[in-house]
Each structure stands twice: as C-alpha cells, then as structure tokens.
C-alpha cells in the first residue's frame, strides 16, 4: 500500500514534476526552434509530410504516443536496445521515460507557436542581413530570432505547461512508480483511484498554480521587454 502523503512527499513530487518539465523543455528548445524555422520557409519538398509528422502528437491519443515510444525505447526496441547495450541506459519505466514522453507530447506546441512567429518576420529582413555580410546562421541570430522571440517564448511556456501536466504517454512509457516516475498528474490519478479525493484535489490545485505561474511569468517578461523597447 501507499504511504500517506506527507508535506515532504508533496514537495518532492512538485520538484520532480518541475524538473521533468524543465528537462523536457530544454530538450525541445533547439530542435523545436530549428524545426519551427524550417517549417516557416517557403515551399520545399517533403514539408507537408514533416508538418504532419510534427503535429501528430497533438492529435493522437497520448496513450498511442506512449505506446509508440514504449515500442521504440523498450529494452528490446530498435532505439532502446542499443541505448541499453551500449550505454547501459534504461528509458522505459525510468525518469528518462517521463522526460521523453513529456518532451514528445509538448514538442508540437513549441514548434507551432514559434513557427508562426518566424513566418511573420519579413523575409526581406534576413535577405538584407545576408547582403550586409551575414551568414544564414548569423542572420538568424541577429535578425530572425530577436524578431520572433515572443512567439518562441510563448511556445516554450506552452510546451513547459503541457509537459507539467503530461499523463497519457508518460503512464505507458514510464508507468506510475511513486518516488521514481510519479509526477503530479500521475499521483493525482492514483489518489482518485484510491478514493482520496481531498488529496487529489490538493494536487490538482498545485498543478493549476504551477501552470498559471509559468504563464504569468512569461506574460510579465514579454510585457517588460515591450515597455523597454517602446521607450
């Protein structure tokens, strides 16, 4: 049976959840921004296919995503086996599985928001930056990213918030192991199943606070930057 929830248990649950969401977000940042930039470019072959692929986790049942990840990253899976045999790394049913599931499910949110931000940047600006001596990469960092940062940031926050609440994919890849793979969302589910409605409600409250906090911080950052820019 489960140990009763203590305040230290709750605190470590919150910390673990935050750490997982943060790790998933950091993991997503570079490939997400790169993918967003790529998808914001005009007509190239295979764009539609990639577009669909990236958005798939958004529309699939998270449990289906979880199942796919389990098959890929399980110890006998095509990716899980070499990871285990070469590096001794287990993904399934470990914290790594939690991070992976959260990252995959949150990825499209970052990409979609950042992509529309890049699409709004006038292509003439990077063109001019090129003629003024910038390589494509430097034009990206000096012109496109500074102009699209708001969309990138809001996408990042959305992805972080989504990762905080990830449930369906996580429970399939990583199970629901208290102290090892259990996040707030998973613990909440367990409390409900055990009929501990009050504790479940408390966890729901904490989740809401964390997500709202992330959104508020992002909003404040955007607002502050806009005020300083307007001066």
């Amino acid at each position: 049976m489960m140990a009763p929830v203590t305040s230290t248990d709750t605190a470590s649950l919150v910390l673990f959840t935050l750490a997982v969401a943060a790790a998933a977000t950091i993991l997503n940042l570079v490939p997400g921004v790169a993918m967003a930039w790529l998808l914001s470019r005009q007509g190239w072959r295979g764009k539609a296919v990639l577009e669909t692929l990236v958005s798939l986790p958004l529309v699939l049942p998270p449990t289906a995503v979880g199942l796919a990840l389990l098959l890929l990253f399980g110890r006998s899976g095509p990716l899980g086996r070499p990871l285990y045999e070469r590096f001794g790394l287990d993904v399934a049913f470990t914290w790594r599985g939690v991070v992976l599931a959260s990252a995959v499910v949150a990825f499209p949110l970052l990409v979609r928001s950042a992509r529309s931000a890049f699409e709004e940047v006038d292509p003439n600006l990077s063109a001019v930056a090129r003629t003024l001596g910038r390589t494509p990469l430097r034009a990206f960092f000096e012109v496109e990213l500074p102009l699209a940062w708001r969309g990138v940031l809001s996408g990042t926050v959305l992805a972080f918030a989504r990762a905080l609440g990830e449930f369906g994919a996580t429970i399939l890849v990583a199970g629901n192991i208290p102290g090892r793979t259990q996040t707030l969302a998973l613990a909440l589910f367990q409390k409900v199943q055990l009929g501990k409605d009050r504790e479940a409600l408390m966890l729901a409250g904490i989740s809401a606070l964390l997500a709202a906090g992330a959104l508020i911080v992002a909003e404040a950052v955007v607002h502050h930057r806009e005020r300083t820019l307007a001066e």
């Binding site: 003439n124 600006l125 063109a127 001019v128 930056a129 090129r130 003629t131 003024l132 820019l229």
Partner: protein, 358 residues
C-alpha cells in the same frame, strides 16, 4: 560604348510558372524597367544571390557567380547594396544600429565616411529613433545609407520612390543622384517609371514577362517606336537635367538653365537653392511646336531647335526635337509641314514643368 560592361548578367531562373531569362551588359548607372510581374525584383534578388539562378553575374570584372564554372558566391560575399522597396530596416534596432549593421567590424561606429553620409542624407536627428517612428522617406534614406556604409561595389535599388508623395520622391531621387555623382557608387535601379529611369540611369533594360524586351542607352532605348508602343498609356514624359539660376517670388516662378542649353521658367520652388542641380519633367502632350518664333503668347518658355525625327506610333506622331518629344496628331504635323531638319520652337507653359528630383 565605354563603361557599358560594368554589369554583366546572364541569368536564367524558373520559379513555379514564371521564367526569367536575362542576358545583358550595362554601365555604372542602369535602370530595369517593366510592368509589375515582369520579374524586376526577382532579377535583383538573383543578382544579389538571394535567389539561386543559373548562369553568370560579373560586376566590375569580378565574377560573383558562374554556375558553368561551379562558382556561386553567397549574398554575404557579393558586396552588393540591396535596398528593397520599403527599405527593410531592422525594426528591433535603432537607426544608428541599423546603419552600423553592415559596417566592417573594425570601423564600427564613427568614422569619416559615417559622419559625412549622415550629414549628406540628413540622418543626424534620426539616429536614436526606431524604424517604426520614421516616415516612408526617412526609412528609404536610412536604408540607402545602411547599404552604402557596407561599401558595396554596386547598389541594387528596388523602386526607390514607390509610395512616396511627389515632394518626398523628388528629394529621394535627388539623394540618389548625389550618391551616384559624388560618392561614385554604381547603381542598378528597378522602377516602373520612365522619368525615374531617366533621372537616375544612363542605360536601361526593359523587362517583360521575364525577358529582355529592349536594352541600351536610356533615352534612345525608351524613344524607340516599338518601346513607345509598348506603353499602354502612350504617355511620354520628357526628362531633363537643369540648374537653378534664380527665384522670382513676386513673379511666381523660378528660372533654370537646361543642361542642353536654353533657359526656361518653372513654377516658383523656394525650397531649391540657387545653383542646385535638379531634374525636370514635362509631358509630350504639353509641348507645343511653332514654326516661327512665338510672340503674344502667355506661355513663357520657348526653346529653338529643329525636327530630328518623326516617330509614328499608331495614330499619334511624336516629333523629336533634340532630346525633346512633342506629341502631335498627324493632322497637326501635316498642317505645319513638319519634316526632318525643319527649324521649330518648342513652347511650354511654366506650370507644365515639374521638378522630379531636386
């Protein structure tokens, strides 16, 4: 023709249903003319290396691309000053930082070229501002200066006056002429206005549907009957360089001396300084022809010349007198017995003249 192979272009590009195929050699001040959709901007982008076209581009003898030889310099290595239609200033950077963007590292900030260009284009009051607080004309000036500060071997200007009111357009053209003449920066300007092409360029390329329709010395090329006939409006604007001689405020006019000789009066334009260079325009419709020295007329400008050519376009006749084109009906030509070599006087009202650059 001397200097007329400064720009060598031999490019081909397919883009969806549109094809561009341009082979042309041009001098140091050239204009690309054509209707919208002719591929003018695409041509500039291909020259800048922003669009990957097949073929060869050489500027001042330096090969920037030659796909047959496997050479393709990326835009950042071409040293071409590209100024898109709206200027494309970086909205997140102040005017000063926009200007500094293209400057070689070692000379960032300050420098004599910086100071003199800021003064010449009157940018000092704008330096601390952000692009969104600038007018259309100010934006173009900053964009022009930014391109120049990078030390380009050629300026590529896309419709430098589109969207500007007549006064701002006039100032913008004067600024570009100054850059061309004083800084000796070669330029290739895309425009859909003949008057702008004549004010800025000595050679033109006419582009239509991605092909070269005509190319060569500006006036001569644009005066070809075939080219005149291309123009749906059949309107010809005479354009001439001139110098301001004096103002006559009470008479409501200013006196100018035309580059080819002859003094005329134009509407009083107090913002132009005496001795400043300007470009004037007058419609071919507004030039009258007289076969004797005119008298008893309210029109105050008469320039003597002789008929050089009669250009028939459909049911219109353009009578060329030196650099001037007057638009007449065949009946008027017959009545005046106009023929090549006949002495005539060109007559125009003061208010038919417009200042297009100055």
């Amino acid at each position: 023709m001397p200097g007329s192979s400064f720009i060598e272009i031999d490019l081909a590009l397919r883009q969806g249903g549109f094809g561009l195929a341009v082979t042309v050699r041009l001098g140091e001040a050239a204009a690309v003319l054509g209707p919208s959709g002719a591929g003018k901007t695409t041509l500039l982008e291909a020259i800048a290396g922003l669009k990957r076209a097949a073929g060869r581009v050489a500027i001042g003898g330096e090969v920037l691309q030659d796909t047959a030889a496997g050479v393709f310099l990326p835009p950042e290595k071409r040293r071409l000053g590209y100024v898109p239609q709206d200027g494309a200033l970086f909205p997140h950077l102040s005017v000063l930082k926009n200007l500094a963007f293209g400057r070689p590292r070692r000379r960032a900030g300050g420098g004599s070229d910086f100071e003199s260009l800021v003064a010449a284009l009157d940018l000092q009051p704008l330096l601390a501002r952000y692009p969104r607080h600038l007018s259309g004309g100010e934006r173009r000036r900053v964009a022009l200066a930014r391109a120049l500060l990078a030390g380009p071997r050629l300026l590529l200007l896309d419709e430098p006056t589109v969207g500007l009111d007549p006064l701002r357009a006039r100032k913008a053209l004067a600024g570009i002429r100054k850059v061309r003449d004083e800084l000796k920066v070669p330029l290739l300007v895309v425009t859909h206005g003949k008057q702008e092409a004549l004010a800025l360029a000595s050679e033109v390329v006419l582009l239509d549907a991605g092909r070269v329709e005509a190319a060569g010395p500006a006036r001569q090329t644009l005066l070809a009957p075939r080219v005149l006939a291309l123009d749906g409006e059949r309107r010809w604007e005479n354009v001439a360089a001139a110098r301001l001689v004096r103002h006559d405020a009470s008479g409501g006019s200013s006196e100018v001396r035309l580059e080819g000789g002859g003094a005329i009066t134009i509407p009083y334009t107090p913002d132009l300084a005496v001795d400043s260079d300007l470009v004037l325009a007058i419609d071919a419709e507004d030039l009258l022809l007289a076969t004797a020295p005119p008298s008893g007329l309210s029109a105050r400008n008469a320039v003597a010349g002789k008929v050089d050519e009669l250009i028939v376009v459909g049911s219109s006749v353009y009578v060329r007198v030196g650099p001037w084109l007057a638009h007449l009906t065949p009946a008027a030509v017959a009545e005046l017995h106009l023929e090549t070599g006949k002495p005539v006087w060109l007559v125009a009202k003061t208010h038919s003249w417009r200042v297009v650059a100055g």
